[in-house]
Point group: C2
Chain length 286, copies 2
């Protein structure tokens, strides 16, 4: 019996780095479904229009995607996987366009700003800000522009039938984006993948607004030798200058050490929610 | 002898909430100098084109202004004051325009989204996204639009000679932005203001990348009953998945308790820099 093709939502145009993350997490078989906004990705999974969703959560140059932290709390969709994608920017042109013809380069302003060395070595080309990296490849191919190129992922060249003129023109190679794979809450019951060496667990909590509260919250992990890999604070709506803390730690929710830590955290936290346990994937392509 | 008028840099158009923060911090006498980008504000203070700068650092609905955390580290301009401004959105029109005439409302998309109740009660008006709140008041007055209003601060109505048609139309009154007052490094030698009841100190540090490192860093404060009011993490460039931590605490750098905490923090941190001690100002208008 042939399995139904899985649908996986992501934000951006086809060829976005999020689609690269889908490939790393789930291979080539799922159908990647693009959405314009992040909240639409979450909503489509909550309403089961898609089977899974892949969202960026942090970048090593720019920091966290804070909007998605807020959506994780609101939509209660469990995290079941993570991966990290190295952000490699390529100069991409419609077929037939040579590097010498290129006078304008379209891309998202952030991507343009991550290729400053390329632009200073090539003063003949003009930078043109566009709403999306992969979207700029789509546009120059569809419009058949003969003097233009775009800066985007190699996947977007493949998808829109364009050609890579220069590979890896980004200034900083230490540019990674970490993505979460989300499924609907029923997926918590799925069989855990086998052979996983290391697990991570993400959670969110608030502390009482007293001196030393965060210290006591972190003590529940330190006292049990549980390593934290990330802590992020977000404002607590309706309580000015109070915060939600998002923590990633090494370990699986079902380990006694983690269970004990969370039991202890419940004593000192006003609110606690586990966002999911998933195989560690943040270092796989370093 | 008449004192020279101080120049204070801020980001945005005249009438921005940052200019309101300048008034709260320094009164009406300084000249507020607008800049388009945050890095220009920092640079102008570093190059002494202005005498001081006021920058937003966090908002109670949207979280930290992360770009400014990065600039604080880069430019090394000491924080000498803070204040918090309640974000009150007003419906503002050119003189002579009545509420019944208004068919379009211009403002920054974030401000439009913070007045959804107003728009659902007034379906006859169309929302038009614009690049800036105060800038939208400037535009409708300069263009003499008779069917349009803008959403912005009361200060912007005053500055551009417009009229407030509806006051405080924001959905959420727990919407505050906290601002820092920065001066050039020589200002550290200025006499401290008198009669200050409570001081805050801001600092930034990195920890060694070992288990429990952040816990040990926070212990230096908890063990001395030093209260933290904020912790924020930012990515460390060139070291994927490692972080800088920005901390605000209650106390002055010159108190022995704080000196001891920082001495202890130097033992466990790879890097530590104090960003400044300043009179506490985040609760003054609650």
């Amino acid at each position: 019996m042939k399995k139904r093709t899985e649908k996986v939502g992501f934000q951006g145009e086809k060829g976005a780095f999020s689609q690269q993350a889908i490939r790393q997490l789930l291979g080539d078989r799922p159908q990647a479904i693009p959405f314009t906004r992040f909240d639409e990705v979450f909503r489509s999974l909550a309403e089961k229009t898609v089977d899974a969703a892949v969202i960026p959560i942090e970048n090593t140059l720019h920091g966290s995607v804070h909007e998605n932290y807020d959506h994780l709390l609101e939509f209660e969709l469990p995290i079941v996987g993570e991966t990290s994608v190295r952000i490699i920017h390529n100069l991409i042109a419609p077929p037939g366009t040579s590097f010498r013809q290129v006078r304008r380069v379209f891309s998202h302003p952030v991507a343009l700003n991550q290729c400053l060395d390329f632009f200073s070595r090539n003063p003949q080309v003009e930078r043109v800000p566009f709403y999306d990296t992969a979207g700029s490849v789509k546009m120059i191919v569809e419009e058949g522009l003969t003097d233009s190129a775009a800066i985007a992922s190699s996947l977007s060249a493949e998808i829109y039938g364009a050609r890579i003129l220069r590979r890896s023109i980004e200034d900083d190679r230490q540019n990674f984006t970490r993505f979460f794979l989300l499924r609907s809450p029923e997926a918590r019951g799925r069989k855990a993948p086998e052979g996983v060496k290391e697990w991570k667990t993400s959670l969110v909590f608030t502390t009482r607004n007293v001196a030393g509260a965060l210290f006591r919250a972190l003590a529940v992990f330190a006292l049990r030798d549980v390593s934290l890999t990330k802590i992020e604070s977000r404002p607590l709506r309706g309580k000015p200058w109070e915060y939600l803390f998002y923590v990633d730690l090494l370990g699986h929710l079902e380990e006694p050490r983690i269970q004990n830590s969370l039991g202890h955290l419940r004593e000192v936290a006003d609110f606690l929610r586990v966002l999911g346990s998933y195989p560690r994937g943040d270092r796989q392509i370093h």
